[in-house]
């Protein structure tokens, strides 16, 4: 986070940066912005539910950049690849924007090194604070499990555990994540990550 503090003490005014972010990161980026006084950032969030249709993320990001870019020196896309199969990165290249170099938010919350250590953890279903809070709206209902509970094992039959990557120490959220694990028939593990590398990415934006 030193980069951000250094930039703010420079005599030249900081560059204006448009941050186009996934709505699932809105709370965390806003908290960082407030904590570090990053007033040079303009934060625009897209609906987090786009994650359920990742093929729609690149066009939504492109439209937002086109609409909001004016008046900014740089554009930072606060998304990881997020299931776009490299299409979001290609778009950012085309538009001269930068983005988070990671496969998804679980990776940058855990940190690249820790995530690599868990590379063989293929039977883990991850939740973040956002997903623990929005489990029903983003997992349970879109998968139809509220209406068709018998589909659960078709989706989750090969998973063995739910790993809650906690950005905050919130017993209520931990209880929600544990309840989600129970409903999915999975073991439960909580790992505190804090904001991981998210702050560094935004500081470099």
């Amino acid at each position: 986070m030193a980069g951000a503090a250094g930039r703010l003490t420079d005599s030249a005014p900081p560059a204006r940066v448009l941050v186009v972010a996934c709505g699932a990161l809105a709370r965390e980026i806003t908290a960082l912005q407030r904590a570090y006084g990053w007033d040079h950032l303009t934060l625009v969030c897209l609906p987090a539910i786009l994650h359920n249709r990742p093929e729609r993320i690149p066009s939504a990001v492109a439209d937002t950049i086109a609409a909001r870019r004016a008046g900014h020196d740089r554009v930072f896309v606060a998304y990881a690849d997020c299931g776009t199969g490299g299409r979001l990165a290609a778009l950012c290249d085309d538009l001269g924007a930068t983005m988070i170099d990671a496969p998804h938010c679980y990776a940058f919350y855990e940190g690249a090194a820790a995530f690599r250590d868990h590379a063989d953890e293929i039977d883990a279903f991850y939740l973040t604070d956002f997903l623990a809070r929005q489990f029903d709206a983003f997992v349970w209902e879109p998968l139809g499990l509220d209406r068709h509970p018998r589909l659960r094992d078709m989706y989750f039959g090969h998973y063995t555990k739910l790993v809650y990557l906690a950005q905050t120490d919130d017993p209520a959220l931990t209880a929600r994540a544990a309840d989600a694990a129970d409903r999915l028939g999975l073991g439960f593990e909580r790992r505190f990550t804090g904001f991981g590398e998210l702050g560094d990415w935004i500081a470099r934006a």
Binding site: P54, E55, D81, G83, T84, G85, G86, R87, P103, H104, A119, D120, I122, D123, P142, L143, G144, L145, R147, H148, L151, M154, Y155, H158, Y159
Partner: protein
């Protein structure tokens, strides 16, 4: 498509054409017991198992697939429909073998190493079987050695690989490159699929085709098989 008034419908009372139409509706609504009952009724009426499969089950699933593609149906509904079709196919499968139904080709299919997702793969397997392909499903989390062993043992026409994750889809190239290094790449039609993939990726890794969904996989596989047969005929 469900209708309250259909609750009292007696399937056995319907003439063939209306029964098949009703099966389309029941597949759409994911009603497995009704599909199983209707399959038995058509068998009792002397229908060939292959005709039940293609005209009723695959016909119904084609509508489901089209509405999924067009955003009218979503994954949960498709899974329920697939479950219903699976119920019908379980009845027909042993009969198809007995009655010598035509076999279009053979496919080995599996999800790549590091990936445990198999919903898409299972849909493709089922639709390929419905289209007359023999399918050998080698499951999830397959290392290249397992693909190669299955090719050696099963001698299929087609290799299908599936991945749901951005982090696992590059493994498809590992498999294709290994096949090329062993000089066997051109002996197989290689089809790839999965949510984060696209046509460009399929080309870049050296697959023969990327298949957007199960219906496209079936059409692509049929098209490649037809070309293969034509080449053999003119050779």
């Amino acid at each position: 498509m469900s209708d309250e008034s259909e609750d009292d419908l007696i399937l056995a009372d319907l003439p063939d054409d209306e029964l098949v139409q009703q099966m389309f509706d029941d597949l759409y609504d994911g009603l497995k017991p009704e599909i199983e009952e209707a399959v038995h009724i058509l068998l009792d009426r002397g229908w060939a198992p292959y005709d039940i499969l293609t005209k009723a089950l695959v016909g119904g699933m084609t509508i489901v697939g089209r509405d999924f593609r067009d955003g009218i149906l979503f994954v949960p509904e498709v899974l329920l429909a697939a479950g219903a079709m699976k119920g019908g196919m379980a009845i027909l499968k042993p009969l198809l073998a007995e009655t010598g139904a035509p076999r279009v080709g053979k496919m080995v299919i599996g999800t790549v190493k590091g990936d445990i997702h198999d919903i898409g793969k299972n849909l493709v397997s089922m639709m390929m079987e419905g289209a007359g392909f023999e399918v050998v499903d080698i499951g999830i989390n397959n290392a290249v050695e397992k693909y190669l062993a299955a090719l050696e043992t099963e001698k299929p026409d087609i290799l299908g690989m599936s991945a749901l994750l951005t982090t696992t889809m590059p493994y498809m190239k590992v498999v294709i490159d290994t096949m090329a290094a062993q000089g066997i790449r051109d002996e197989y039609i290689v089809l790839v699929g999965g949510a984060p993939l696209n046509e460009e990726f399929g080309r870049a890794i050296g697959a023969d085709a990327y298949c957007r969904d199960a219906a496209v996989a079936v059409e692509t596989a049929k098209s490649f098989m037809a070309r293969k047969h034509n080449q053999m005929a003119t050779a």
